[in-house]
Amino acid sequence: MDLLVQFLSNTGYYLAEWRHVAMIVVGCLFLYLAIAKQYEPLLLLPIGFGILVGNVPFFKGFGLGIYENNSVLHYLYFGVTTGLYPSIVFLGLGAMTDFSSLLARPKLMLLGAAAQMGIFFTLLSALGLGFLPKEAASIAIIGGADGPTSIFLTAKLAPHLIGPIAIAAYSYMALIPIIQPPIMRLLTTREERLIRMAEPRRQPTKKERLVFPVVGLLLCCFLAPASIPLLGTFFFGNIMKESGVVDRLAKTASSAIIDTATIFLGFTVGASTQGDVFLTGKSVGIFCLGAIAFSIATASGVIFAKIMNLFMKEKINPLLGAAGVSAVPGSAREVHLTGLKEDPTNFLLMHAMACNSSGVIGSAICAGILWSFMV
């Protein structure tokens, strides 16, 4: 009888608190968004299920929890705390990215740079609200709209905030169709939205696509060496793709490797999001700041495009500024759809992809800059 009582007192049913239940509801919500609504399922499904797993109550000391040494989840979580998984994800991203659009339209790189202003605005806001500098930098990188980058920087600067920051970053990436269009419409006139982009005068050659990852790596990493773990693997993946001599490696990087890293990254980030860490006032602040970061990033890209138009003969459609937000390809898709609503024959997708690609590089550079400021 005592044995039975002891067993029952160690079950999750006995140990459950309201925090566990609340987080399980959050996890179920993520699963619903991923499966039923198909909002970023590659991210939200592993995270959602990870939340469920991480919030099953258990008796501490059994080596079960993600924060307990020698537990399986702890070993898997190693890739998050060390920044390993984000680097591997960037390897796969580089192997999947085609920079032709960007190489054919180099001016649009500036819109990717402009959209990163959301990061620095959020940095100021977070500091003003009382977050510590390292916490503020980790929160600010949400404005880069890049999940792996956010997790990478947070793991280095404020690992105790990985859970809420990752959840906020991925949630807002999934909510781009809701966040961006109103801002785009608010900041542009109908005439501006109807601007047609001229097709590029030339298409980049294979040599240009081959030289770009080397040039990009050297320039960006010399500027911000702290971005080496992200941009190093990113451009490595890209040169594997463009070289044409290691197709097998490029295919593996863009499929099995990135999928494996995504699975473990999402699952362990979700599992790390436990009630006592997530359900706090700080998390609410992080979510609010994340929304501000995304909004300012979108707005700054659009406004910069309008400023560029003051000096350019060939006008840029200001909607493209919103694609400078690094959420590939979600923000490019939203820009394209917003342009189509005004003019069904105005195809902005490839131009938007140029800005999107630039945003990925820009957000990784910002992560390197912030890390070097905080060290």
Partner: protein, 129 residues
């Protein structure tokens, strides 16, 4: 709740300004490099092709006796001309190369059927084996 003093105390303004300037300037430079990349690569390609074009062509001191051998020397000149050409054009090229006795050579080509009339004062080159 929100305090500008905490921003200043943590050097926030400087970090934000410096960070923004660094990322903007870095990507601006990268953008400029990308825009010039095709020109730089084009220069390298021209340099690689140049040695073949500037290789001096040696004109033999004495022309071979065999007309076929002389025709082989004239073949590169003909390749610079369109399919049908006037004798004057071929003559001008041979003078540029300082080939000896171009009049006599072209007459010999006509008589041997290497230069074939194509009508309206134009001629075509019949390749020799």
């Amino acid at each position: 709740m929100f305090s500008f003093q905490t921003i200043s105390a943590n050097n926030g303004w400087a970090m934000a300004l410096a960070g923004a300037l660094i990322v903007m300037s870095g990507l601006s430079v990268l953008s400029f490099i990308i825009s010039q990349l095709h020109k730089v690569l084009g220069l390298f390609e021209k340099k690689a092709a140049a040695p073949e074009e500037t290789a001096p062509e040696t004109v033999p001191e004495t022309f071979p006796v065999s007309l076929d051998k002389v025709a082989e020397l004239y073949a590169p000149l003909v390749n610079q001309l369109p399919g049908s050409f006037s004798l004057g054009e071929l003559y001008a090229l041979s003078r540029e190369k300082d080939y000896p006795h171009p009049h006599l050579t072209l007459r010999s080509f006509r008589e041997a059927g290497i230069l074939v009339p194509a009508g309206e004062g134009q001629f075509s080159w019949k390749a020799t084996q």
